[in-house]
């Protein structure tokens, strides 16, 4: 991937800002998501809550199923590959996916190495729970970052914690003397120029979305008020009682995330939210995969 392509890939993420990216498993769900105002969809065979329930090994989705979703909607289509599984990524690039999520939601294929994303033309989004992880993924070629959160739980606590950790690390670097940045680069295990960028600009060099546990309009607005550029909603929509209505409400809550009165109205009569499990009740912490 040359510099110009990387710029185009970062810029596509910029176009998604202020929007909601929704997990979908069928063309019908993709259409519901698009009609509800999703700015992109994530095509996957099972949403994280079901992956969690099923256990076993979770892999890239069937390309035929992804093709079906690509044909059903006009908005960007993303899909997940396993951490380090560069052939799954090659396959997703071959079917012209708009964005690849190298995702801890699937079973990792490599317990040390992430994909060298600079070798691809197609853009990648990666999860991160702190600034070091985010900058390491960016150094590997990620054009977009999202918090890991804890997928498939409907519990927003981890996404909040990851966003706050990232924000406070950015604030700390912004306040540093220039001669302290060399050591910070060493601590974070990232190149100096990325630390310098954060120091000079007070933000990541790519768009940063919230993901992992968002289930309600208020959850989405919470992540936006904490500084997210946009929101991924995985299990939260199609595991709820009235997916179309909840999806629409979350989209509007992201647009008007500071308007509590509107969020109150949007939160009314949404039906059953996904049941949710909290992180102390689960044995598998997906956020610990790929650091």
């Amino acid at each position: 991937m040359d510099e110009k392509q990387y710029a185009l890939n970062r810029e596509l993420a910029q176009m998604l800002k202020g929007g909601v990216i929704m997990d979908v498993t069928t063309p019908e769900q993709a259409k519901i998501a698009e009609e509800a105002g999703a700015c992109a969809v994530m095509a996957l065979e099972r949403i994280p809550a079901d992956i969690r329930a099923a256990g076993g090994v979770s892999r890239m989705s069937d390309p035929a199923m992804i093709n079906g979703i690509q044909e059903a909607v006009s908005i960007p289509v993303m899909a997940k590959c396993r951490i380090g599984h560069f052939v799954e990524a090659q396959v997703l690039e071959a079917i012209e996916i708009d964005y690849i999520d190298e995702s801890e939601v699937l079973s990792p294929a490599d317990d040390i190495f992430h994909i060298d994303k600079t070798r691809f033309k197609v853009p990648f989004v990666c999860g991160a729970k702190n600034l070091g992880e985010a900058l390491r993924r960016i150094n590997e070629g990620a054009a977009m970052i999202r918090t890991k959160g804890e997928p498939g739980t409907g519990d927003v606590v981890q996404a909040v914690s990851h966003m706050r950790m990232m924000n406070s690390a950015i604030a700390k670097i912004t306040a540093m003397r220039e001669d302290e940045l060399f050591n910070e680069a060493k601590e974070l295990q990232v190149p100096y120029n990325l630390v310098q960028y954060v120091h000079d600009n007070g933000k990541l060099p790519v768009v940063n979305f919230a993901a992992g546990g968002v289930a309600t309009p208020a959850d989405a607005a919470l992540m936006m008020q904490l500084g997210a550029d946009g929101v991924f909603v995985g299990s939260g929509i199609f595991k709820s009682g009235d997916p179309a209505k909840r999806a629409e409400a979350i989209v509007k809550a992201v647009t008007n995330y500071k308007d509590a009165k509107m969020i109150a109205d949007l939160s009314k009569n949404l039906g059953e939210a996904m049941v949710g499990i909290n992180k102390d009740e689960i044995t598998l912490l997906m956020a610990e995969r790929g650091i």
Binding site: K4, E11, Q14, E34, K252, D259
Partner: protein
């Protein structure tokens, strides 16, 4: 001069930063109440046109903004913004403001792997850096529409009275001449 920037979804902050550098005041238009505030010009940014179009209608902003455009308020639409302005979309049954008498094709260069950068010529400005991101182009224009740029035979910039529509994203480059041109429209 106050520039109202549609801020329901997409890359609106990028426009805002450029207009501020050029000395204009800006306001973000996120909901109906924001339209009561004073602004002289309107910007429709890049993003997803399906999302922006839906939110414009659901949030009660659509008719008010359409009327402002029809009454002559200068408007700049980039990428998704161009789609919102277009009279019709050749590969989509949806249509939005329909104030700019052109037909556009959505995602005309294909998916993200078809996105590209090039330098193109803009009438009256010369060479300009252009970012095309899952971009539309203009397939045909009605009489009275001035074609400002073409790339490989496809129209990528056009002006009609108070409306300026672009397939590409001047808000993503460091060249502010199009923004200046819009402020003088």
């Amino acid at each position: 001069m106050v520039i109202g920037i549609l801020a329901v979804q997409g890359a609106f902050i990028e426009h805002e930063e450029i207009f501020k550098k050029l000395g204009a005041d800006t306001i973000q238009l996120r909901q109906k109440n924001d339209l009561d505030r004073h602004f002289d010009r309107l910007v429709l940014p890049g993003g997803e046109s399906t999302v922006q179009g839906k939110l414009l209608k659901d949030l009660g902003m659509f008719n008010i903004l359409k009327e402002k455009i029809e009454n002559g308020m200068p408007v700049l639409g980039t990428c998704a913004g161009l789609i919102l302005l277009a009279k019709s979309i050749s590969n989509d049954t949806r249509a939005y403001f329909q104030t700019l008498p052109v037909t556009v094709k959505r995602n005309a260069y294909g998916r993200q792997l078809g996105s590209f950068h090039c330098d193109g010529e803009i009438k009256g400005l010369g060479t300009f850096p252009m970012e095309f991101i899952r971009a539309p182009y203009i397939e045909n224009v009605a009489s009275g529409v001035e074609v400002l740029a073409e790339n490989n035979g496809k129209i990528t910039a056009a002006r009609y009275k108070n409306q300026l529509g672009l397939s590409f994203h001047p808000e993503l480059c460091n060249d502010y001449r199009l923004h200046k041109m819009f402020m003088e429209m």
